[in-house]
Amino acid sequence: MTAASSPAVEVSGLTVRYGDLVAVNDASFAAAAGEITAVLGPNGAGKTSTIEVCEGYRRAAAGTVRVLGLDPATHQRRLGERIGVMLQEGGVYPSARVLDTVRHYCALYGKGLDAATLVDEVGLTARSTATWRRLSGGEQQRLSLALALASKPEVAFLDEPTSGVDVNGRDTIRRIVRDLAAEGCAVVLATHELDEAERLADRVVIFDGGQVIADGTLAELRTGHDEIRFRSDPNLDLPALALSIGMVASQVGTDEYVIDAPPHPRLMAQLTAWLAEQGHPLTDLRAGAQRLEDVFRRLTSGKDDTA
């Protein structure tokens, strides 16, 4: 976020209830124009409810939400002209054809965008006359993205944009998302694919139990959590290793180990020397800041389902 820019999306003390169930509890975060903000969290963490309030689709029980300075609850139609929305699934008439659907949304938004150009941008020109129900999962995602682009959005809410998309399709979607941000759009990306968030996000907001438990850049979230991660034979003699290098290693997989320590060259040398002395192989070695996946697990108490 540049110092001068005001957030395109501001969520403050947001609470969303479904009857007695509190889905979102006093959540606050912001997303800036020109940045990609990834919203992560386990199942039922409150991500989708929060985004739906931002889109003006759902009402908040408490708190303040401003998107482009407008209250989505009272300015849904005005806001609808300026935001792009990509749902996690569906959103299109099953019998509607690709080009017809994009043309329909281009007409609804009235921004003068050419439907055929949008279809081409998401790589679906060859499927222009196919109906939604005939598209693969990845193609459906790309069509949904085209509909989000039809508004020429200033804020784009993208829910699982790469879910079920093949490698080439992912590259296309990542390029489009980066281009959107580069053009000044605030992209809010809800995803369960941590790798996707790591590749794309400038900022990460992590939800758990309806609350925001972390909010910052990837570098900020990783600060103070360096590690050395390596693979070798299963069931190494870890007490002996600890005696040798002066640090405790934990086994985190059949043949995978982690030492929670900064990757000091001397420590790395001690580790590799001990493995060599003991006749163990070193099949993989990574050192430095924790991966987002590890940050996420640490923050969400080891829950591994992020859908």
Partner: protein, 241 residues
């Protein structure tokens, strides 16, 4: 083109492309009208079966479009999150609902433009028909059936809604005085049939188009009640996702 007209055009395009809906809204009413007018097997009680059948089939056409076609289509759109997606466009919910209602009205116009000439061709000879009153009755019938269709579409899952709408269509077709005269129904069922929107609409149309309704005054009241209650119910109970 305005957003409303854009949405209306899409609604009509999808209806025209949907073979099942065309069969339901045009194929079945025309088939019933032609077949039972030419093959005199129904106990219509009129000299020419088409004089009984024509108003009943017009009522059936209204029910097919406003309840079943609208209800099934909307139910699947809800299941596929189409409604949710459209709700966050500048179209907004009121214009989306408005476009659906206009779509129903457009299809009904087409139905009447086909069914009325077919009925005349089959020998229908209504005595001093009051088309203005008939139009008012169709409007009330449309509101009643649309309310029922949308209430079901807004609460039931797609496939269950499909089955329920078709099942209700069949029940109302048989018990609604559309092709089977009220007088031929068993006593208890007859009373229920008069209280149904299908029965009330068919009776009112028979009265306004041929002067041979069975209890037109009561039927107008019944129809008006349905036309107020079911849209209110739909507005209160409808879930967008």
């Amino acid at each position: 083109m305005s957003r409303f007209l854009t949405q209306l055009r899409t609604e009509l395009q999808l209806t025209l492309r949907n073979g099942e809906q065309l069969l339901l809204t045009l194929g079945i009413p025309v088939l019933l009208l032609v077949f039972f007018s030419l093959v005199d097997v129904l106990p219509t009680g009129t000299a020419d079966p088409v004089d009984f059948l024509a108003p009943g089939v017009l009522a059936l056409a209204v029910m097919s479009t406003a309840m079943v076609s609208l209800g099934i289509g909307t139910g699947f759109e809800r299941s596929y999150h189409v409604l949710k997606r459209l709700a966050v466009t500048p179209l907004g919910r009121p214009r989306l609902v408005g476009a659906k209602i206009a779509g129903v009205a457009a299809v009904e116009l087409v139905q009447f433009a086909i069914l009325v000439p077919v009925a005349y061709a089959l020998g229908w000879s209504p005595s001093s028909p009051n088309w203005a009153l008939a139009t008012a009755a169709v409007l009330l019938g449309t509101l009643s059936f649309a309310g029922i269709g949308l209430t079901m579409a807004g609460r039931l899952r797609g496939e269950i809604n499909l089955a329920a709408q078709n099942g209700l269509y069949l029940v109302l077709l048989l018990l609604g005085g559309m092709v089977i005269p009220f007088a031929k129904l068993p006593g208890g069922i007859r009373a229920v049939a008069h209280a149904l929107p299908s029965g009330a609409l068919a009776d009112v149309l028979r009265d306004t188009l041929g002067g041979n309704g069975t209890q037109p005054g009561a039927s107008w009241i019944v129809l008006a009640i349905w036309a107020v209650v079911t849209p209110a119910l739909a507005a209160a109970l409808f879930r967008w996702d």
